[in-house]
Symmetry: C2
Subunit: 120 residues, 2 copies
DNA sequence: TTGAACCTTGACACCATGTCAGGGTCAAGC
DNA sequence: GCTTGACCCTGACATGGTGTCAAGGTTCAA
């Protein structure tokens, strides 16, 4: 229902993102609507790339009816900035790779500017 | 000299990226120019975001004087494509976060479109 | 001789997730 | 009531790349 795997549901319980699940007599975990809702929240946050610790904070803001939206916004912006840095780094790598690939004739001959660049 | 930490030099030896280092009588590892050169190769490849397994292949191409530059180029292009996908994914996240942050008034009030979006 | 600065191996940690093993439970069909 | 298959339980190991720590050995200079 939440789209979260069994494995991860239990993991989230272990690390305290989810409360300890209620248990049936057999020991099976028992979830209610609220649990599913919370899991979906976590899943959506993960899809936006938030790390577990960020999600912990988001959940506590969500739980807290007296929160200030400014705090949520700050988390989102800080995460967006982190993503921006990652994007820049990956793009720089990608650009250089494409440039090197462009220089390389890419045929049966062994000489290759890509290896030259890597070997210094 | 290579810019690679002790820790990682030994790790690369453990996983077979680097040959087992020569040893002094005391058991201390002993490196020569060639080792340093190889380590630098690995470090540069890591800086371009190549994973260890890719580097393993790059090293074997580097070692092999009969290589075809086409093979090196294919590795580089495939890695660039993978980077491109990652960039796209991160950018999509970032874009949505910025959009949500834009909608959020970000003051002392608790209502917040970011949390609304996460809670569904 | 002593101390500081190195080196050795081994282990544990991160983060998020998958997978497997070895066992228990439950419900449907016979 | 028994079998069978589909669940569920816990615990452990793996991934990748790196940090860090501990307990011990070595080397060199003062």
């Amino acid at each position: 229902m939440s789209g979260v795997s069994e494995r991860m549901i239990r993991h989230y319980e272990t690390i305290g993102l989810m409360p300890a699940a209620a248990r049936q007599g057999s020991g099976y975990r028992d979830y209610d609507e609220k649990d599913v809702h919370r899991l979906r929240f976590v899943a959506r946050a993960r899809n936006l790339g938030f790390a577990i610790d960020d999600i912990r904070q988001l959940l506590s803001l969500w739980d807290n009816g007296d929160r200030a939206s400014a705090d949520v916004r700050a988390l989102a912006l800080s995460h967006a900035a982190a993503l921006g840095e990652k994007v820049d780094a990956l793009q720089a790598m990608r650009k250089e790779l494409l440039h090197l690939a462009d220089l390389c004739h890419g045929d049966g001959r062994p000489d290759c500017p890509i290896l030259d660049r890597l070997s210094g």
